[in-house]
């Protein structure tokens, strides 16, 4: 039972990986997930978060099986 994590663009490069996974029991919110994967260093300012491909704020609750993603501001188009 776990939470899957994805990183994109500059954040992916900073983390040194595109994906991660943590035990669902370790985190209640998106911010908690970040704390676990980043050893309690703060989330870079402007970081965007999503759960299951929907934008959410860092205080949004996570649950077992969720896909949480962290990425910098988007620059498409």
């Amino acid at each position: 039972m776990s939470i899957n994590i994805r990183y994109f663009a500059s954040l992916r490069e900073k983390m040194g990986k595109a994906e991660d996974s943590i035990d669902a029991g370790l985190a209640r919110t998106v911010a908690d997930v970040w704390g676990v994967v980043a050893n309690d260093t703060g989330m870079p300012s402007n970081t965007l978060c999503s759960i299951n491909m929907e934008y959410v704020g860092p205080e949004h609750a996570v649950k077992d099986g969720d896909e949480v993603a962290f990425f910098p501001p988007v620059t498409g188009g």
């Binding site: 994109f8 663009a9 500059s10 999503s50 491909m53 988007v74 620059t75 498409g76 188009g77």
Partner: protein
Amino acid sequence: MAVSITEKPFNPWDELQTRQDNLSMAGQYGATAVFVGTMRDFNEGDKVKAMTLEHYPGMTEKYLEKIILQAERQWELMHTLVIHRVGHILPDESIVLVAVWAAHRANAFDASRYIMEELKSHAPFWKKETLEDGDRWVGKGSEG
């Protein structure tokens, strides 16, 4: 609506021709508004040799469809087409195509611009430029 994300170069005018040939609404639309974004060889004072466009497969398509649905709720539209390139891109290649077919021009103009602005500010794409002396991620607030 039609949304596609493609790693292959596309010709926007061919895509518009093909799409329009397949619309079963000849004589009904009076207005088509189109935007094409093309890769420039120069950005923020530097020569750009190439670009790599990263996206979040699944979320990108979902988000583009959401933007189009929002546009369809605000304006009376007959058809919408969005094509976005990802992967390795060279100068002068098309990056994005947004096209809206409507009965009347105000709706087509408003909706095409809305879709393009929402895409730029929310759809999960990220540009990395290859300069003469290395790579850099494109920052927010680039003029586009």
